[in-house]
């Protein structure tokens, strides 16, 4: 098999966290929001588990629902969004059942988010330092001075100078803003951090810096992390396990190395070939043929079947259940075993189709 296209080596297995207990368990989560007269099924039955200190990536194209999933996990729904069914059990508590005030107490102190658009995710009329101070004081009630010290420590942690605390967001560069967002996310010592495309808006250099920062922080603080991105190589740097999302569903889940070397779902395989590697041999860039699925009326059976080169009649009729692969992973494909056995032949098929 040809070498996987990533920046560097896949992330080594993270140091085992202090307790391997489950921190987050999502079961059959479904969220949809209303557009015009129809409902967009952005998240349609997602299940996964995350342990303390574990890192997990969620990759997919734009429109796959991955960002919606991230927001849904924190119950940050748009005005026209609803959680249809499912549970989000965080440290034993089902977030879906909580009332708003109870949820608010957990926010930021137990789980936090690093938003995609740091450009606009910070309030432009408040100083950056003050935004951190406010968050800390809101949840812990410490004095302003103590909170400011904490903000300074956080800035140091992310590699920003103390003097920047008094700055306004528009005075920060893209990379700096992103790091400030990370500092803000960590300010109340959450156990879980969800990072939604934190490096997408950055240039390559800043991207590398911020990624390294996140990686170090995750390791040093033992954070559980869910890293959402459309760039699989970025996810590979940080995450121990990766889930692939398509049309509102998770279609494959595997340890990162496993996913990259031996993908078991056709969509994953196509995704992997879409990313150029700076170091590897020159490859033909394959974009996944066809267009993203309609989330209001998704395809029947396996949602990927209209674009899948291996599709068979059963694929349009029966939605494949998660079929176990190795190391606790699974893939939602009727033919995942055959694809594995056929190995390089399967790759050739893909390339011809592309």
């Amino acid at each position: 098999m040809k070498s996987p296209p990533v920046h560097g080596k896949a992330a080594p297995a993270a140091r085992e966290p202090r307790s391997g207990t489950t921190l987050l368990e999502v079961r059959d989560l479904a969220m949809h929001f209303q557009v015009g007269s129809g409902w967009v099924r952005a998240v349609d039955g997602v299940s996964f588990e995350l342990r303390r200190g574990e890192t997990m990536g969620i990759v997919g194209e734009s429109g796959s629902g991955k960002t919606s999933l991230g927001y849904a996990m924190l119950r940050l729904l748009p005005a026209n969004g609803r959680i249809l069914r499912g549970s989000i059990v965080f440290d034993g508590v089902d977030l879906v059942q909580l009332s708003e005030p109870e949820l608010r107490r957990l926010r930021w102190t137990r789980f936090a988010m690093i938003f995609q658009n740091a450009m606009s995710a910070l309030n432009p009329v408040f100083r950056v330092g003050d935004q951190i101070v406010d968050a800390v004081r809101h949840h812990t009630g410490v004095s302003r001075i103590a909170a400011r010290e904490r903000a300074a420590d956080l800035f140091q942690l992310v590699g920003l100078s103390r003097t920047r605390l008094r700055g306004y967001p528009h005075e920060f560069s893209g990379g700096m803003k992103q790091r400030a967002m990370i500092a803000l996310a960590l300010s109340c010592k959450p156990d879980l951090v969800i990072a939604d495309e934190p490096t997408t808006a950055l240039d390559v250099v800043a991207q590398g810096q911020v990624l390294r920062q996140i990686k170090d922080l995750q390791r040093d603080l033992g954070l559980a992390m869910i890293f959402i991105s459309h760039d699989i190589s970025v996810v590979a740097e940080i995450c121990r396990n990766v889930a692939v999302m398509y049309a509102g569903e998770l279609v494959e889940y595997a340890p990162t190395e496993q996913l990259l070397t031996e993908p078991r779902h056709p969509y994953t395989m196509a995704l992997l070939r879409s990313f150029p590697s700076v170091r590897g041999p020159l490859k033909t860039l394959l974009s996944v043929p066809g267009s993203p699925p309609d989330l209001v009326r998704p395809p029947s059976g396996c949602r990927f079947h209209p674009r899948c080169p291996f599709a068979q009649p059963i694929c349009s009729e029966v939605s494949p259940p998660p079929i176990p692969t190795v190391d606790g992973g699974w893939a939602r494909c009727h033919f995942t075993e055959e694809i594995r056995r056929r190995g390089s032949d399967a790759i050739d098929v893909l390339e011809k189709v592309g």
Partner: protein
């Protein structure tokens, strides 16, 4: 805006194809757009109500000769109370108020459409051309625009009409020529962003000359907010005309609602009916224009999507 100096035949052919395809797409989108626009517009109750009000005013004005019971300039017993014969009474000079109101709609509508249309035409051109051309022309022009926008329009119009006369055609022209800067400002802003789009760049590279580009590709795509603004301008024109007539600056040969109010204002105590009905008429027309304008704005506002991705 630089045009590539060396463009191979294949490149031109390809650009031509892309250009044609883009135009096709645009045309299709626009055709669908019109139907979708009307659908969305009619889905709003206020917009529909506004359209009905406008329709009533327009119909009354158009069919005035058939509907009005009397000649609006004809003289009858003055200050007559509303009753048989004169449903809305008569004004201090003896003119039938109802007939004046029916005929008065013509003047208001003439101002609404005439002034707004003139303002639209001039504003679009004066906003699109400097915006497209850019450079120092645009700089000077923007300064001029900002200057003009500061001046209090009503005072200027009063001054002009007092000095140069109140003939209706003249005043409509004056109004149109003082209203266009706000349209120009909007159009210019639109043009500045549209000229960067793909199909415009394709047209430029294909060697199409600037004028057709501006008026066939750029302007139609930027018209939406200008049109929304135009409904507001129509309301402004009606209101200003009524105000001018109220101050005695209207065309004496025309029947205008403001004029009725002017005549009646000294007789509020003895003949209050004279001031009530013309105001209602003005209000009806303005309500219609504002509701329709609001409906148009809401439909054209691209922020209709509510999803996150």
């Amino acid at each position: 805006m630089s045009v590539p100096t060396v463009v191979s035949d294949e490149a031109v052919a390809r650009l031509d194809d892309e250009h044609v395809a883009a135009m096709e797409g645009l045309r299709r989108a626009r055709a669908v757009g019109v139907r979708a626009f009307v659908e969305r517009f009619l889905a709003q109750p206020f917009a529909v109500a506004g359209s009905i009000l406008l329709g009533i005013v327009a119909a009354t004005a158009i069919f005035a000769p058939l509907i009005a019971p009397y000649d609006p300039f004809g003289l009858y017993p003055p200050l007559g109370q509303p009753g048989q014969g004169h449903w809305l009474g008569t004004d201090p000079l003896g003119r039938d108020v109802l007939s004046m109101i029916i005929w008065g709609g013509r003047v208001s509508l003439a101002f609404a459409f005439g002034a707004a249309a003139l303002s639209l035409a001039v504003g679009v051109v004066m906003g699109a051309v400097p915006g497209y051309v850019g450079g120092i022309v645009d700089d000077i022009f923007s300064r001029f625009l900002e200057t003009f926008l500061v001046i209090p329009r009503l005072f200027l119009i009063i001054l002009i009409v007092a000095l140069l006369g109140s003939n209706i055609v003249f005043v409509i022209a004056v109004m149109g020529l003082t209203m266009w800067p706000s349209n120009a400002k909007i159009m210019r802003a639109q043009v500045l962003s549209i000229k960067k789009r793909g199909y415009v760049q394709a047209a430029i590279a294909a060697g199409v000359s600037p004028l057709p580009i501006i008026f066939r590709h750029v302007v139609p795509n930027g018209l939406a907010p200008v049109i929304a603004n135009s409904t507001l301008q129509m309301a402004y024109a009606v209101l200003t005309e009524a105000g001018l007539s109220f101050l005695g600056l209207g065309d004496p040969n025309q029947v205008s609602w403001g004029q009725i109010l002017n005549a009646g204002q000294s007789y509020v105590r003895s003949a209050p009916w004279i001031v009530i009905s013309p105001g209602l008429a003005i209000m009806t027309l303005l309500l219609g224009l504002h509701f329709v304008g609001d409906g148009v704005t809401r439909v054209l506002n691209p922020r209709l999507s509510l999803g996150r991705e």
